[in-house]
């Protein structure tokens, strides 16, 4: 199908923010491989101190766009935390996170975990193995604290999901009553720590475990200060992770630029997964430069090249630990957006009951598969990609088929968010309010 040729970019000089995590890779690759320049875009990539600073700078225009937590555009648009209309047309990756606990906690947990014939713990590890430890802390009157990276982060929801599936209550938010700590009724107290500071904070004893993206779980193994117990791939197979967010004003003012940015990033994502991850070692070398993630090559390679090291010397194959292009990873599905919104509702960040239509409407305000489709079609037209690498845009309704590969066996169907909420033992549903 022919379409009008894509116009020149309205803005050539762009500045994008990122956080030092391996899943910023599509940005680094699009820059280093010249994909941005081939679109006529001159991009500066700038590491940001934490997720809040990053979001604020996208809102006030200091950044043209940024590597974001999927919950950030949604949270900002519905006004949780900061109120601003942010949109996304590009999903940066699937999976890529892990939950790590300190050595002491692991030693306690290990007693509750079955071991296989080789004497290695059987994975995936349920939070029910952690429950006796948390109960022990409670009995002694000590708080059990864990870190996550931001109130609307994937990590917060994954950690909560895993804890709740194992019978540990992670606590509710009650923004209407001014409670944004999310610790109401909590067995485990979750709080915010910026990703690169996680290992140091746990080493200092401020938190007993955390959920974060790579390389900060593997860093704990290398430093010998903690043990990753589960990856998010095992909590929800091929869960959506980061997105590339821009403010909706920016998107309106710079439509061609937006499409061109997405084009460059789709190419970068494809490069990252090409030939069965053949380019990953090169990607690891690029990421280990101090301007990007900057951690040691070996630490980054551990998770980026299809393996994951749990306990020291317990390295296992997880070929899909971090997916950048396969399984339509880059397409912004409405159902992904709705999942995040269900979790915001589940934990009280959305205090009021919402209709299924509201979930759909909000997802459509934030997720922009239309922009993605234009970028993809331009790439197909230029002969850089083929149609079979993308969803069939004429038939696509933006919903993945119901997914059931969650650690608790619950099935998620994005078309019925309220029914989905009812399937959880722990969490707000229906008319519940805190």
């Amino acid at each position: 199908m022919a379409q009008a040729e894509l116009g020149y970019p309205e803005k050539e000089e762009l500045k994008f923010g990122f956080i030092k995590l391996t899943d910023m890779a599509p940005l680094a690759i699009a820059y280093e491989k010249g994909y941005f320049e081939e679109e006529g875009l001159y991009v500066t990539l700038e590491a940001q101190a934490n997720w809040k600073v990053l979001l604020d700078r996208v809102i006030d225009g200091q950044l043209d766009g940024a590597h974001m937590l999927a919950g950030q555009p949604l949270g900002a648009t519905i006004g949780y935390g900061t109120k601003a209309h942010i949109v996304t047309a590009f999903s940066m990756d699937l999976n890529g996170n892990g939950i790590t606990v300190s050595n002491d906690v692991w030693a306690e947990m290990k007693k509750n975990i079955p071991h296989d014939a080789d004497g290695k713990p059987v994975h995936p590890i349920s939070a029910s193995a952690l429950k006796p430890v948390v109960d022990g802390y409670k009995a002694e009157g000590k708080p059990f604290k864990m870190g996550m990276v931001f109130p609307v982060s994937t990590h917060n929801y994954e950690l909560r999901y895993w804890l709740a599936a194992g019978g540990i209550h992670p606590g509710y938010y009650a923004p209407a009553k001014g409670d944004t700590s999310g610790q109401i009724n909590a067995d485990a107290l979750l709080s915010v720590t910026p990703p690169p500071q996680m290992p140091a904070t746990m080493e200092a004893g401020t938190i007993h475990g955390y959920c974060v993206g790579e390389p900060w779980n593997q860093q704990a193994v290398f430093k010998g200060i903690g043990v990753p117990v589960i990856t998010d791939y095992e909590i929800w197979k091929n869960n959506p992770e980061k997105v590339f967010g821009v403010s909706s004003n920016w998107a309106e003012e710079n439509p061609n630029t937006h499409i061109r940015v997405v084009k460059a990033m789709i190419r970068a994502a494809k490069w990252l997964d090409e030939n069965n991850n053949a380019n990953r070692p090169e990607a690891v070398e690029i990421l280990s430069r101090s301007d990007y993630v900057g951690a040691d090559y070996d630490v980054i390679a551990n998770s980026m090249t299809g393996t994951f090291e749990y306990e020291k010397d317990d390295k296992r194959d997880v070929p899909d630990f971090n997916v950048f292009f396969r399984h339509n990873a880059t397409y912004p599905y409405y159902s992904d957006a709705i999942w995040y919104l269900t979790q915001m509702r589940r934990w009280g960040q959305i205090a009021e009951p919402k209709s299924d239509e509201w979930f759909m409407k909000t997802a459509k305000e934030v997720y922009r598969p239309d922009v993605y489709a234009q970028a993809a079609k331009a790439l197909i037209e230029e002969g850089l990609m083929v149609a079979s690498e993308f969803p069939d845009f004429d038939k696509e309704d933006g919903f993945k088929a119901p997914q059931s590969e969650f650690i608790d066996g619950v099935t998620y169907d994005g078309k019925h968010p309220n029914d989905y909420l009812k399937s959880f033992k722990i969490g707000l549903k229906g008319d519940d309010q805190i």
């Binding site: 320049e37 006030d60 690169p196 430093k223 900057g294 951690a295």
Partner: protein, 323 residues
């Protein structure tokens, strides 16, 4: 020339004592420090490896230099590619006016030094521009002094980390322009530096001005000098030594404040370099931070020396001992 042998001997003695004091002793001090550092460093183990000693710092210095050179090569290629792209577009669309876009690569260690240096000089310059006239005014007039003193005393001890959020918000809100001459991050760093470093100059100038010798004041009265001439010929020259003491203190504070502000606000400069390396958590990070620490110290030292030279040049009393 006929030089008496006695003074010849004393000259020799002087040369010997000077070289001992100004060359050998400092060298000895540095040597002992480096030795202690090397021995001490190897005993401190962190989760990012051993604390960096002098050899590691030397290696990291070399790698920073190489990085800088590589970046410059990349920069040249970047401009070449850009020119080609502009030409290609002009061939298609003759009305297009190509504009070369500045290099988008990462600033290297040396770029960051340069950024920090001009930011600190701008902040310090602005602070002096405010503090010296104000200091002269409150030194001359005790009523103005009484009025301003409480404000000065309250703001003087405020830490840069407390000013920074306010300055950031004010700059973001008030400095809105489509084609800004300065970046917001530069202005935030600069104003924070100004706010924190103006006080020593202000106070020392005021004290210096107030302490002009009676004799000189009387001379001014006898000659019936006009107010402006009085200030320029009598007050400022006699206040210069104290004014410079203030300026040197201010410059030292400015440099310390700048690094802290850059670390906290993630504004470009050496402070950001240190923070980024800390966040990287690689096995090279500590060595690189140590290089930065030494560089920060060395630049602080050079700034102070530069100020001293200016003072020697400006001060009328060449016999005064300056150190």
């Amino acid at each position: 020339m006929n030089i008496p042998s006695v003074s010849m001997a004393s000259l020799k003695e002087r040369v010997a004592s000077v070289s001992l004091k100004s060359v050998l002793l400092p060298l000895f001090g540095i040597l002992v420090f480096v030795l202690l550092w090397q021995v001490g460093a190897s005993r401190v183990h962190t989760s990012l490896g051993t604390f960096p000693g002098p050899t590691v710092v030397y290696e990291q210095w070399n790698s920073l230099v190489t990085e800088h050179q590589n970046e410059r090569i990349k920069e040249d290629k970047f401009y070449e590619r850009q020119e080609k792209r502009i030409d290609a577009r002009q061939a298609k669309d003759p009305s297009y006016e190509g504009r070369l876009i500045d290099y988008t690569g990462k600033p290297t260690f040396f770029d960051q030094i340069f950024t920090s240096l001009y930011t600190v000089l701008a902040g310090f310059g602005l602070a002096s521009f405010i503090a010296i006239p104000l200091g002269i005014l409150i030194g001359l007039n005790s009523s103005v002094y009484s009025a301003l003193n409480p404000v000065i005393q309250v703001f003087k001890p405020v830490s840069p980390l407390a000013w920074l959020p306010l300055v950031t918000m004010v700059v973001s809100a008030s400095y809105v322009s489509d084609d800004p001459m300065f970046s917001k991050s530069f202005l935030t760093s600069m104003f924070t530096v100004t706010l924190c470093c103006m006080w020593p100059t202000l106070i020392n100038t005021a004290v210096g001005v107030a302490a002009v010798e009676k004799d000189l004041l009387n001379v001014s009265k006898v000659l019936q000098l006009g107010w402006i001439t009085h200030v320029i010929k009598i007050v400022i020259p006699s206040a210069i030594p104290l004014m410079f003491t203030g300026l040197r203190l201010s410059l030292g504070i400015a440099w310390m404040v700048l690094i802290a502000a850059e670390m906290l606000a993630q504004n470009p400069g050496l402070g950001k370099f240190v923070w980024d390396e800390f966040q990287n958590g690689s096995s090279d990070s500590l060595g690189r931070i140590m290089v930065a620490v030494l560089m920060i110290g060395f630049i602080g030292f050079l700034l102070d020396r530069a100020m001293l030279m200016v003072q020697r040049f400006v001060s009328w009393d060449k016999t005064q001992v300056l150190r």
